[in-house]
Symmetry: C2
């Protein structure tokens, strides 16, 4: 029986509800596959500001560093708007501290949910793409200035920062359909020109077997909904990745379904649903836990290297979706907790390969 330490950071809004859901499914995995998961629940975001004044405490950071993997719910909300410390700072500091530079956001399309997509069935059927978003650089972390009547943000990238996330994307493409679409705004931004050069060089030197194409971010935001099947791995910088991955999450019917994994060169990875804290839904058992549960599957796969266990969670989610169970975002009336229980039950009942 192997023991794994998992840090749980519920955060704000619907964060605690979806974290509970993910933990329940992880516990079912432990029971079914005979592991021991030790959960360590810690503060982050607005909840941490309320308790300590700080969106990321030393205690939380130490717990994350001592874990095998970190699960995060969501941070932020109007309650903390205008304060001197913002919930989001906690998340950004955590990403930076853990060095999780590659944010992986798979876009999954379930046949049973094709009619929930705002896009036509024939446009989204069989879409299978993943966004690799650079997560610890760009305008999220560059110098910010504020004067009496101006403000500025600096977007800065170094060659090694671009290279390491591009390498991760190329490697992922090899295990998929062998294509990377690198997205930038090279006709306007200097950082994008460097981005394009570095990606092109790395491709020529190490990944000539992968197909590489470049796209401008404005064009990509259009093509992503015109012909999403044309894409396999989409690689881009932090802000463009934030925008494009939210857009892409709609293809499957609801952002509530979308998971993410953030990985670094070493140390624990960070796993969080793509959706935000959704303050209007919080505490009402109305949110969709599937994005969080699929993030826990990514935690099993990439964080703990438990591939069979990850497969079991993903298969359980698919079976429950196929059974017709739907949360409110997909037009149904099943609550967050009931949905999590169904998926946990399916995991317990799953047969090993």
């Amino acid at each position: 029986m192997s023991t794994f330490n998992i840090a749980l950071l519920p955060g704000d809004g619907v964060g605690p509800e979806v974290t509970r859901a993910a933990a329940e499914v992880l516990q079912a995995v432990a029971d079914r596959f005979h592991h021991r998961f030790v959960f360590d629940t810690q503060l982050i975001g607005g909840a941490a500001i309320d308790a300590t004044g700080d969106p990321l405490t030393q205690e939380t950071l130490v717990a994350c560093r001592q874990s095998h993997a970190v699960f995060l719910g969501a941070v932020g909300g109007p309650k903390w708007d205008g304060g001197s410390r913002r919930p989001e700072q906690g998340l950004l500091e955590l990403r930076k501290a853990l060095g999780v530079f590659a944010n992986i956001r798979p876009v999954l399309i379930y046949d049973a949910l094709l009619d929930c997509s705002p896009l036509r069935r024939e446009v989204v059927a069989d879409v299978d793409l993943v966004v690799f978003r650079e997560l610890t650089g760009g305008s999220y972390f560059g110098e910010k200035r504020r004067g009496a009547d101006f403000a500025s943000d600096q977007c800065i990238y170094t060659t090694p920062e671009i290279e390491r996330v591009a390498r991760a994307a190329f490697i992922a493409a090899r295990a998929r359909r062998g294509k990377v679409t690198s997205v930038d705004k090279a006709n306007v931004l200097e950082t994008s020109r460097l981005w394009r050069e570095v990606v092109t060089d790395l491709h020529a030197k190490e990944f000539a077997d992968v197909r590489l194409e470049h796209a401008l971010v404005d064009s990509m935001s259009m093509q992503l909904i015109r012909q999403p099947r044309a894409y396999d791995v989409i690689l881009t910088e932090n802000m463009f990745g934030d925008i494009l991955s939210d857009e892409a999450s709609v293809l499957g019917g609801s952002i509530g379904l979308a998971p993410s994994a953030s990985l670094g060169a070493e140390g624990p990875g960070l796993f969080e649903p793509v959706h935000g804290s959704a303050p209007d839904l919080a505490g009402r058992d109305r949110c969709n836990p599937i994005g969080a549960i699929l993030s826990s599957a990514l935690l099993l796969r990439y964080g703990l290297r438990l591939a069979d266990e990850a497969d079991a969670v993903e298969a359980a989610v698919e079976r429950v979706i196929n059974s017709g169970a739907r949360t409110a975002d997909l037009g149904g009336d099943i609550g967050c907790q009931a949905m999590a229980e169904r998926i946990a039950d399916e995991v317990l009942r799953s047969v090993s390969h």
Copy 2:
């Protein structure tokens, strides 16, 4: 008989074809409504680099300044990639020189084209929104740096820059459904926090009769395709506007249909289709001239204050679309020139109110 000087900047790729199309329709307006339009055709972009080494020559700039309105086709293409001067610099310098800070991109949905949209009919029917994009600030014009292994772009905004485009958006909303959605990334960017403050203040002081809401850019890229009918005027900064307006252009079925107007406090406005130079379509009479022709309608309306004439062009486009004529982007086989001729004919035949 009134005389108007119109500068025509065909540019690159399909730019010359769509400029010819727009000029033909403008000539039909002149004939039908008894005006005199004096066209002055000038170089810009890659074409200007090839001829003079400079993407925006003094001669072009003088011609634009002496005109009542400027029409631009498109700039850029792989031919000029990696050169020391880029076609796009010419366009950016022109926007800056003319001071056209408000880029207006209406999203029009034609009933007859509902089935060309990648979105479901029930999602896009009756959408009626316009994007107000700030056009002369942000990371397009901030300081760019490049070192041996890094690059940076600065995004900078001043209070007056934000205020003037926000004012234009609020005024437009008053004449529409009375709602402005201001888009930023205030949970991360300092410029966005200033943006939100300035828009909020201006709203309270001068436009309390307009409804104002704020949205985060990642969420907006999602909502724009989930519930586009929820929006009236979308106000945002330069780069976010570039991305969101291209995304929005898909709603109507093709970016080839989308027009834009860029206006300043005084002096000639700049009118250009939203689509790019589409090098793969260039010279093949395959592109859609409607985005350009509708841009010429905006030129008539905002540039020359000829509202009846603008109405006549827009009505002519609608009649031709309703007749079933379709260019390749919409699945048809009518050429760019033939489409322009049909629309020009309709203008000539149009009856005054």
